[in-house]
């Protein structure tokens, strides 16, 4: 039976695709253009909000690593800040600086995966391999400080950090940052200023500022649409109000603008780590941990600028050892469902992975 040109078919851009994460989008395609996109989340739903109700705060800080695999320390930090706000704890200054250093290093390595995966999405696998090689610098630093390359096991915990920095760390970190800067120039010339990359991303899937706000976008996609909302500047936590940095933003709102925002944030993050290392005070790194103490009654909502956007934790306690309710606001929840479904309409099938990866998302913190 001949198939007419107006027939549509259903194409799953699915979890086993090399250009997608653990996430599926059902694309209704007509010819080569997507007519409708329906997201199907839930492949990584592990029920963190319920799991956290059965564990004490210290155990929960170990669990919070695994909320988003690409940036475990950010979620450690978000949870720790929520518990500290609830308990009214004052964390020592040295711990705040160490946390800032680790949070910015996490942003650097997460953005490197993002830009590398964007290369992978376009078929430019070499860029992916290069980006992951650069990321090794940061993972080696994490291994030195937290004890493991990816999962720090609650290194940032309520009250401070688990252990002090190893001796000689500031010097090694600064050397690693110098190497990273050179690596990023190389990434620019290989990928980000590459004419093919520019041709594929310029003008692709523009997101207007009004739609970005209505659909709940945050992080680089929102900033690339002209709204410079960055929690580090607008609602400062840790020591960001004492450090100098620019909030990267663009006005075009297309995929290229989002990648450019990511690249600019990498530069700012390297500067922030250098400033924090310079200003690192001496002193204690944590309040004494009390693993079996009760939480006070009350509630707290805390948000941070994680690598993927505005990440929030809403903690409710009724005075037990374990929280009563932990609600996690994952930045990718709104990025992957309403924003993606909106942006994919009218896009050609070959550009779908590029649009997908331009959003800087993490299916893990969508599903939680």
């Amino acid at each position: 039976m001949p198939i007419s040109r107006t027939d549509t078919y259903l194409l799953p851009f699915g979890p086993a695709h090399p250009g997608s994460g653990n996430f599926r989008v059902w694309l209704t395609v007509q010819g080569e253009r997507v007519v409708r996109a329906v997201a199907e989340p839930g492949f990584l739903h592990r029920g963190f909000e319920k799991l956290m109700e059965y564990r004490t705060p210290l155990q929960n800080s170990v669990l919070s690593d695994r909320i988003c695999i690409l940036e475990p320390l950010s979620w450690n930090l978000a949870f720790a800040l929520a518990v500290e706000r609830l308990q009214g704890m004052e964390v020592p200054a040295r711990a705040q600086y160490i946390r800032t250093i680790l949070a910015e290093l996490t942003r650097i390595q997460s953005h490197l995966i993002w830009l590398g995966a964007a290369g992978l999405a376009m078929g430019f696998e070499t860029a992916f391999k290069l980006a992951l090689t650069y990321r090794e610098e940061v993972l080696k630093l994490f291994e030195e400080v937290t004890g493991a390359r990816v999962y720090p096991a609650g290194y940032i915990r309520p009250g401070g950090v688990r252990r002090d920095l190893p001796p000689g760390f500031p010097r090694r970190c600064l050397e690693a940052l110098d190497r990273l800067e050179k690596d990023l120039w190389e990434l620019d010339s290989v990928m980000l200023e590459n004419p093919s990359f520019l041709a594929r991303t310029r003008g692709l899937a523009p997101l207007s500022p009004e739609e970005a706000v209505r659909l709940g976008a945050s992080g680089p996609p929102l900033r690339a649409s002209g709204i410079p909302y960055d929690v580090r500047r607008d609602d400062p936590y840790l020591v960001y109000d004492q450090l100098e940095f620019q909030v990267a933003s663009r006005d075009d709102g297309d995929a290229l603008a989002r990648f450019r925002v990511g690249r600019a944030e990498l530069r700012e993050s390297i500067g922030l780590v250098r400033q924090a290392l310079q200003g690192l005070p001496a002193g204690e790194v944590a309040l004494p941990p009390k693993p079996f103490a009760r939480l006070p009654e009350g509630e707290a909502y805390v948000h941070i600028e994680s690598a993927h956007g505005d990440a929030g934790v809403y903690l409710v306690s009724t005075g037990d050892k374990t929280p009563y309710r932990v609600k996690l606001r994952g930045p990718s929840f709104t990025l992957l469902i309403p924003v993606l479904e909106h942006l994919l309409v009218g896009v050609e099938v070959a550009d779908v992975p590029v649009v997908f990866w331009s959003l800087n998302h993490c299916p893990a913190d969508m599903d939680r």
């Binding site: 210290l58 155990q59 669990l63 030195e144 096991a153 609650g154 688990r162 190389e186 290989v190």
Partner: protein
């Protein structure tokens, strides 16, 4: 073009694992080693473990060690090191050994016998 030459003629970026490997960092959280003579059977490790990987179990030699001691299930363990941190006598410590794969699930339940002190922190081997 310069990038191509740099990587073509430069040193390899990867190691031929497992023949070549870099030693893990000093703080690396790998397999546990348990010193039964230091243990006071307080049970803190069992209560603090986030995944219930530790159960206080009887020792294979009950005449010499009559109380209960931590039995660790490496399949449930997430290697967070809370047991090491909160043990009052440092009877549980985490080494740098990360060669933990096995074909037999039963091998992963480590009984509370004296830990293997020959495991070196710096150079684990398969």
């Amino acid at each position: 073009m310069l990038t191509l030459i740099k990587y073509l003629l430069g040193r390899d970026l990867t190691l031929a694992f497992p023949k070549e490997s870099e030693p893990p960092a000093e703080r690396y959280r790998g397999r546990h080693v348990f010193y039964v003579d230091k243990c006071i059977s307080c049970g803190t490790c069992e209560r603090v473990c986030p995944n219930r990987a530790i159960l206080m179990a009887p020792h294979p030699d009950p005449e010499r060690y009559p109380k209960s001691y931590p039995q660790i299930d490496l399949a449930k363990c997430c290697f967070c090191g809370l047991c090491e941190e909160f043990c009052p006598t440092q009877a549980i410590q985490l080494t740098g050994d990360y060669f933990l794969t096995t074909f037999d699930r039963a091998e992963l339940i480590v009984p509370p016998t004296q830990g293997d002190q020959s495991v070196s922190q710096k150079n684990p081997s398969p």
